[in-house]
Symmetry: C2
Subunit: 251 residues, 2 copies
DNA sequence: TAGTGGTCTAGACCACCAA
DNA sequence: TGGTGGTCTAGACCACTAC
């Protein structure tokens, strides 16, 4: 007889508070960039001590939902910030030969190729939680560093969450796509999982990225999640790594 | 006039305690796998409250130097553990088509090709902190999943730290290389940085990995650090991603 | 100077593990 | 049952920011 899985029922107070705060974020009670109430006010509201609220906020700050600023307050994290800009795009320019300092981030520009309402292939629909037949949006875009194309992205989104998203609207917005998602559609990307492979460039792709057909490219497949671990984006990026690399920290 | 950089002098007590504990780890006072003293004993030793020790340990556990086990004690982390096994090797088998569960980790075997004492190229010497002319060890090995070669690693180490490391000794050891390093040479890898690119397989590499010449491979360049952020390994891995992928979490 | 987050303490009690 | 880490509280004080 297989023993029933021992599900630990116990959940400490601070985790319950963290969950309540997350619900407030999800419900839009506090918007990205805004400050949440101070620790004592939250403690009074939830009828716990300040230390417990503090530990709850610690957790949320550790998972990048909140940002603490000593002396000022605790703020809702946003993708519309310089410092958070490259949290999800891990591509960096190669260091110049002999350089001791890592190369700084280069100016980046975006070009949107198309944005179509379309039936998603089964694998895609499954990944972003679409029931049979629900519509999806497919966006394709190029990223340029120093005027050269380096990344080709193909992005799938549930159409229901992004009604009114068009190529022109994407092009008009200056700044990261995820910042537009959170300000215009109330969808905030919280975490993502990536699968990385090396592939050979197909003809059409090669032309867009200005590389030889068959050239090795990095394939980066990402599923991005919003609050409550709901998957809301599938993205396949093809990176030309001739002058750039994907950087990663192992802890 | 450029303002002098404002160096924050203030360091909270718990960080000083964390630093003292780290020194103990570095000095080998507590060995990988062993338990450190309980929180009250440490508090008495450092003349602070248990809460402060606790916060210090929290930090060290967060950076994977220590492992807490409720009801048992706090232990020095080790690479010789199943759970930590794949913390630095981020290669996972592709899920079977239509599978809902991610594929489990596959049995892995290692084959060492050679281990030579050798002058390191300048770039390598610089990366692992070798002064001019100091000797290095170069190790090459293959990793097999299900009997098939998937990874070719070329590894550079400072010879001074690994006196007596030979191909036969590497082959004799069952388990991760980093576990051997920590138990036999007292060098514990704490964190690493990786740069990932897509490259085309050269002839010799292609043969070893059993792929066509020119096939796209993942190039994973790693610098691994021990205590005190000292770089002690440079590793270049070539991964065949036909049936596997490099997985990454973005938080 | 007022308000916010950050640190430190002391003590009570709870959850988990092993013997 | 005893020992360990884990939680929660209450209060004092420190460091940083803005006005």
């Amino acid at each position: 007889m297989i023993p029933a899985p021992q599900v630990p029922q116990f959940s400490p107070l601070y985790r319950q508070i963290a969950s309540l705060i997350t619900q407030g974020l999800q419900a839009g009670e506090w918007k990205p960039g805004e400050a949440i109430p101070n620790e004592f006010d939250l403690a009074a509201r939830y009828k716990v001590s300040q230390g417990t609220v503090r530990k709850a906020i610690d957790e949320l700050a550790a998972s990048n939902l909140l940002v603490r600023r000593q002396g000022k307050g605790t703020y809702v994290a946003t993708h519309a910030e310089q410092t958070t800009q490259f949290r999800f795009l891990r591509l960096a320019p190669d260091p110049a030969p002999g350089a001791t300092q890592p190369a700084p981030h280069e100016p980046l520009s975006r070009r949107f190729l198309d944005c179509r309402r379309q039936r998603a292939p089964a694998a895609v629909a499954h990944a972003i939680g679409l029931a049979g037949g629900e519509a999806a949006l497919q966006v394709r875009r190029l990223l340029y560093f120093r005027g050269r194309p380096v990344v080709l992205d193909e992005i799938w989104l549930p159409a229901a969450l992004f009604e009114g998203l068009t190529s022109t609207r994407l092009s008009a917005y200056q700044g990261p796509m995820y910042a537009l998602f959170e300000s215009e559609f109330g969808v905030r990307m919280v975490r993502a999982e990536e699968q990385i492979r090396a592939v050979a460039a197909e003809a059409g792709v090669a032309e867009l990225l200005n590389v030889a057909p068959g050239a090795p490219l990095l394939s980066v497949e990402r599923v991005a999640y919003t609050y409550g671990d709901r998957p809301v984006e599938l993205r396949r990026g093809l990176y030309d790594t001739a002058t750039h690399h994907y950087r990663n920290q192992l802890g």
